[in-house]
Amino acid sequence: MAIDIEDAYRRFGPMVVRRCRALLGDQEQAVDAMHDVFVRLIQSGDRLDDRGMSSLLYRVATNVSLNKLRTRRRKPENAGDDMLAALAHATDVEESTGTRRLLQRLLGGTSESTTTMAVMHWVDGMSLEEVATETGMSVSGVRKRLRILREQLGGQPQEASP
């Protein structure tokens, strides 16, 4: 079975570019990140329907952008960037200390998936229910992961008021 990368790009490429641009704040870097996202799609070898592919690409675009932000370490240019920088840094801390394994055990999964959830909820404004649907977790599971991550971030960010 084949992954037709040209077809996948035609259908979801613009979405990926926009997702990366929203997080990176730069069109050129977003296009560069988009290529990385599709490389990951190939390498995943996952067999997906159209909806599954859109979900995967959106998550991978978030991860790739966070990784680039972490590498770039640019100074935040607006309030939203503060949040992204904190989340990118949170992943960095996990990877650079011996607490990573412990944290992953606490989180019950990869740190990358948690930061993706955090971006969806705290940056994109998606509800816990929507995040849970996208990530295939329970609402309580998402809430727990985000609570632990918030503690790692020193109590920030606060939950949005209903």
């Binding site: 084949a2 037709d4 040209e6 570019v17 926009r18 997702r19 599709f38 490389v39 990951r40």
Partner: protein, 239 residues
């Protein structure tokens, strides 16, 4: 006040993969519909600025040269030909064929795959091939640090496929696909692929000279001349 529609749902709506419920939510919101129209318009602009064939070509090259996070490698066809291809299809090998942990250690190995429609087949040494066949070369370094892959055809034309790095080192990531596939030309009789590997850098110039002078030089003589393990894979050419 209209319901907040997330960017992801809106993207799905524009891509035509939203659920009925998601579509209904979007269509109930004039603000969301306006955003969707804007996204659709930008889609056209982005696809014009970054044409699918070009993007696919770059992605294919990237996938061929970067390590996979899952430790698997896709089989990539037509990397140098995508500019003229109607579509760029990436064919994932079955997991067991590219599993890194199984492939590490042991002997060097050379494998040739051939594109067959939308799938691929693993060829046996001595298989029949024809002009126009697209083949993908892959190797496993085994315990060897250095190596080179060269091919020679029935007209004594020699093509150097590797080393891919200046220091001549082989990748140790299990089965490694060369970054490009090859379309066989109409050279008669055979196409021989020779993989020489060892603990020291391979003298590629010497290998090239030997094969140019004697295209069918047997593996044992190559081994003696180059002091390395030798894998030879011959495709028999038929019209």
């Amino acid at each position: 006040m209209s319901e907040k529609i997330s960017d992801l749902i809106l993207e799905r709506y524009v891509a035509g993969v939203a659920t009925a419920d998601e579509a209904a939510r979007v269509e109930a919101s004039p603000e969301a519909l306006a955003r969707a129209k804007g996204l659709a318009r930008e889609n056209t602009e982005l696809l014009a600025a970054h044409p699918p064939a070009q993007v696919a070509a770059r992605v294919v090259r990237g996938a061929a040269t970067r390590p996979s996070q899952k430790g698997t490698r896709p089989l990539l066809w037509l990397a140098p030909l995508v500019a003229t291809a109607c579509a760029v299809a990436i064919f994932a090998l079955p997991r067991e064929q590219v599993d890194v942990t199984r492939a590490k250690g042991g002997k060097a190995k050379l494998t040739i795959y051939r594109q067959v429609g939308s799938t691929s087949e693993k060829l046996e040494d001595g298989a029949v091939a024809r002009a126009g066949d697209t083949v993908q070369v892959a190797y496993i370094a085994g315990e060897n640090t250095y190596g080179a892959i060269v091919s020679v055809d029935g007209r004594s034309n020699v093509t150097v496929h590797t080393p891919l790095t200046d220091d001549g080192k082989l990748s140790q990531r299990g089965e490694v696909l060369l970054p490009r596939a090859y379309v066989l030309d109409d050279a008669p009789r055979f196409e021989r692929f020779v993989f020489v590997a060892g603990g020291k850098p391979v003298d590629v110039s010497r290998l090239r000279e030997l094969l140019h002078a004697t295209p069918e030089l047997d593996g044992e003589k190559l081994r003696q001349a180059l002091n390395g393990t030798v894998n030879v894979f011959t495709l028999r050419k038929e019209p």
